[in-house]
């Protein structure tokens, strides 16, 4: 089964990376980009009996390791 977990910063949490990228895009002449926030995406292959089981497993992975729930939100998508 293929799935992905998307981890993004909670709103209001400073994203220095996003800010640096915004500035760089401006100096490269890419106009019109207002804000950039950078997150992580994990593309995962896993063995699971069904979708619900897979989802539960990935939620566990996200909580335990893939995200820092103090400052990040995550989202599990089964593909």
């Amino acid at each position: 089964m293929k799935a992905r977990v998307i981890v993004t910063l909670k709103p209001g949490i400073l994203d220095p990376q996003g800010k640096a990228i915004e500035n760089a895009l401006h100096s490269l002449g890419v106009e019109g980009v207002d804000t950039v926030r950078q997150g992580k995406i994990f593309e995962i292959e896993l063995a699971a009996a069904d979708k619900a089981k897979a989802e539960a497993k990935l939620k566990e992975a996200a909580e335990k390791l893939l995200s820092n729930t103090v400052i990040e939100n995550y989202r599990v998508e089964i593909l």
Partner: protein, 230 residues
């Protein structure tokens, strides 16, 4: 030797580099700001120093590689001018396409600051002529993303054309493939014309006998000798 040390926002080893260049060559290096479009007249060595340009955000070296000054560096290199790219400089050089491949997170995911050994793979280059091929030197590393990765074809070409300059090794010269995960234990590579060297370890931090070992010194002496011979 007329050296130009590039300064990007977030670079932090430019002073170490300038100081070591001065110590070995007796000449002051020019510090060149990232927005400059030209190198100082007569520059014969460009140094891209270590640090965390732009915080190493996005990908290490990515943003710096797209700075105005890099266009001038590319021209300099195309004409055969010497470029020494250390640590973040190596990452910048790869991102800028001056060297192939990319540096990824260390296999053990941690930043590592320690002394390591590396084997000098060849001594017939402007950067290594004062070393003996096959000899082992002690140098410090300080990086979190020094894991050299390239596709199979590039790697085959690097090996085939003998463009690997240094490999991580044990004190007695046995190649250490596990140090940071680098493919073929690559610590440094050369461009095809042998005029661009990128390496992760910091020879500039092993130059001054008051501070510690001095195995990095001969890299700078090699450059001086090369330029004097030219």
């Amino acid at each position: 030797m007329k050296a130009a040390v590039l300064v990007f926002p977030g670079i932090n080893r430019e002073r170490d580099m300038a100081r070591s260049l001065q110590l070995v060559s007796g000449k002051e290096a020019a510090m060149v700001w990232h927005t400059d479009r030209e190198l100082p007249k007569g520059t014969d060595l460009v140094v891209i120093p270590g640090g965390f340009s732009y915080g190493d955000y996005l990908r290490c070296g990515a943003i710096a590689a797209r700075s105005p000054v890099m266009e001038a560096v590319r021209k300099h290199a195309d004409k055969g001018g010497l470029v020494l790219a250390v640590c973040n400089g190596f990452q910048i050089a790869c991102e800028a396409g001056l060297l192939p491949g990319v540096l990824m997170r260390n296999a053990r995911m941690k930043f590592m600051c320690k002394e390591v050994h590396m084997r000098v793979e060849r001594s017939d280059t402007p950067f290594t002529r004062r070393y003996n091929a096959g000899s082992v030197i002690r140098v410090p590393v300080a990086h979190g993303e020094g894991n050299y990765v390239a596709d199979a074809e590039t790697l085959a070409r690097l090996e085939g054309e003998n463009l690997v300059a240094f490999r991580y090794a044990s004190a007695d010269g046995v190649v250490d493939p596990h140090f940071n995960g680098s493919m073929n234990a690559i610590a440094g590579i050369l461009s095809e014309k042998l005029n661009v060297l990128g390496l992760m370890p910091h020879p500039e931090n092993h130059v001054d006998p008051i501070v510690g070992p001095t195995d990095g010194r001969r890299l700078f002496e090699s450059l001086i000798e090369t330029l004097e011979a030219a």
